[in-house]
Symmetry: C2
Subunit: 358 residues, 2 copies
Amino acid sequence: MAKITTSQEFTREEVGLALRNPGMPLEGLRYPITPIGMHYLLIHFDIPFLDPTTYELTIGGRVRDPLRLTLDELKARPMVTMPVMMECAGIGRAYLSPRPISAPWHNEAIGCAEWTGTPLRPILEEAGLLEDAVEILFTGHDRGIDQDVEQNYERSLPLDEALRDEVILAYGMNGGPLPLQHGSPLRLVVPEWYGMTSVKWLKSIRAISEPFEGVQQAVLYHYRQSEEDPGTPVTRKNPHALMVPPGIPNYLSRTRHVRVGPTLVEGRAWSGWGSVERVEFSSDGGRTWGEAELGEPVGHYAWVRWSYEWDVREPGEYELCVRATDAAGKTQAVDETEAWNVGGYGVNVVQRVPLSVS
Amino acid sequence: MAKITTSQEFTREEVGLALRNPGMPLEGLRYPITPIGMHYLLIHFDIPFLDPTTYELTIGGRVRDPLRLTLDELKARPMVTMPVMMECAGIGRAYLSPRPISAPWHNEAIGCAEWTGTPLRPILEEAGLLEDAVEILFTGHDRGIDQDVEQNYERSLPLDEALRDEVILAYGMNGGPLPLQHGSPLRLVVPEWYGMTSVKWLKSIRAISEPFEGVQQAVLYHYRQSEEDPGTPVTRKNPHALMVPPGIPNYLSRTRHVRVGPTLVEGRAWSGWGSVERVEFSSDGGRTWGEAELGEPVGHYAWVRWSYEWDVREPGEYELCVRATDAAGKTQAVDETEAWNVGGYGVNVVQRVPLSVS
């Protein structure tokens, strides 16, 4: 299924995916809401070329009254705006060895936007789910070939997840229109889950009576320990804290340089399993940890700011680390072997920032 | 000076730069003005964290009356809006062998935004250039280490180039504010030249009496055939045509799949040396060429649309190519050895799109 390599170097395919799919530069962690153009993107196929004036969403399958909704009709429905932290399930993949060949994310597959849209639940209620409906299938307009199968990008949600009040169909981002590359004219936003769930460029929503077995659902996005392992589906975001790398960078290596003295280290933390209860900071590569200070969350489904007053007195080489623990008691993997899985999903290994102090 | 490799694989540093510095997905060539968030970016160091309300630009050096201008003062000056096609000088570098280790661009280091700002020339005239001024030096707030030198990103322009009417200080992009990652609150925009000239996050503008010898001017951004070659400076954009890859992609390899029948192939072309006079299309890897149809340029400093009605009758494997020729008679390199140089700059080798027809 997955191509895997032990090479320390990267393939042309991986570089191609990196150039198409930007991460958020980590200095962007300074902003509670990620500015437009800085939020990560993972676009499986091509950005479709859709005309919002003729756009229609169809709601069908195992429903009593199939619906067709134009963008104006969707905008006339109740509107909600909420910040949602989004993270690609492939985050951290590039730290693994052997490494699955796909988008070679390190720590930058993140962003927290303010999404505007209309709740999904009332639309499904209006369509009237039939008794045999077990999942809701979301199909995008983006089409291509993955795992040798030609397909539109599509993923399903179990009924109880699709009916959560906070699941929305979004047509706005950060107070403006939804950008083309983020799914315009309409996308799904599912808080707490990894980003693959939030299908972009929505074409149809269908209630189905059997669990969806498409490539993006049944083949990809599973935690598997071997090719034979049936595995478990990737769902909610694992706890994760990241820092703005302090000081100034080297252009090529991105290693950091800081002067002796007090340095305020800051970042953001999140989890899809419960609120972040604790963030710890280490300046010695994870041997000793200190408590970081937590701010107020940007929103229930957003991230929370943390900071740590690091007073570095001795010139030399340091390795900064940070880790989060959530209300469910989950924390982060300290080394990447703990987090390894065939597809390289949900890798929340602690961030390590090598740093020269002078 | 430059690290060079003959490896077909890419280093972690290259992947890191690719993830920080997004390209424009080539399907974005459909839009005359590149939407916000799809325009390429090359950020040498970190995105600086600047407060526009206290921002000041200083104009000094060899001038009679040094100036300090706030953002409001800059916005009160004459305003111009114009589309400018921008391209990173590192475009095509990843096709070279041996390959310089830096941002591993293929074809996507492009974009055409509508920039809003105020012309530079009247500001320099107000400051009053002294007789010994030979260059204007533009210094950004972004700071880091490159070629072992700690520096703010800075580049100069010869006086006659800096005084061109169309050189502007931009505070807006695509009708909105200048995004942080594109140089907010203020950046330089120099039409026709490669992007490294258009310094972002401007801190100061200084008239200088000796040619600037900083790293980004005298060490990098030169066409050199060997490490010892003094080379020539990289300046204007070489002619370049690119196409929207037709059909649908494979997720990982990005190879394309098209059905038998007529396919409208389209794209954009540009040159910094003169208007685009001719665009040619090939479906057999460059053995035979046909004339593409040219549209109206989006603007004098923008790109021009081209299209070609390709009627493919036989299933099989094809390689599509496109090349531009400008009014100065310059055209594109057909293979990458022609375009090779130590730093991997200005590589305008023809785009090759492998494609399966079924």
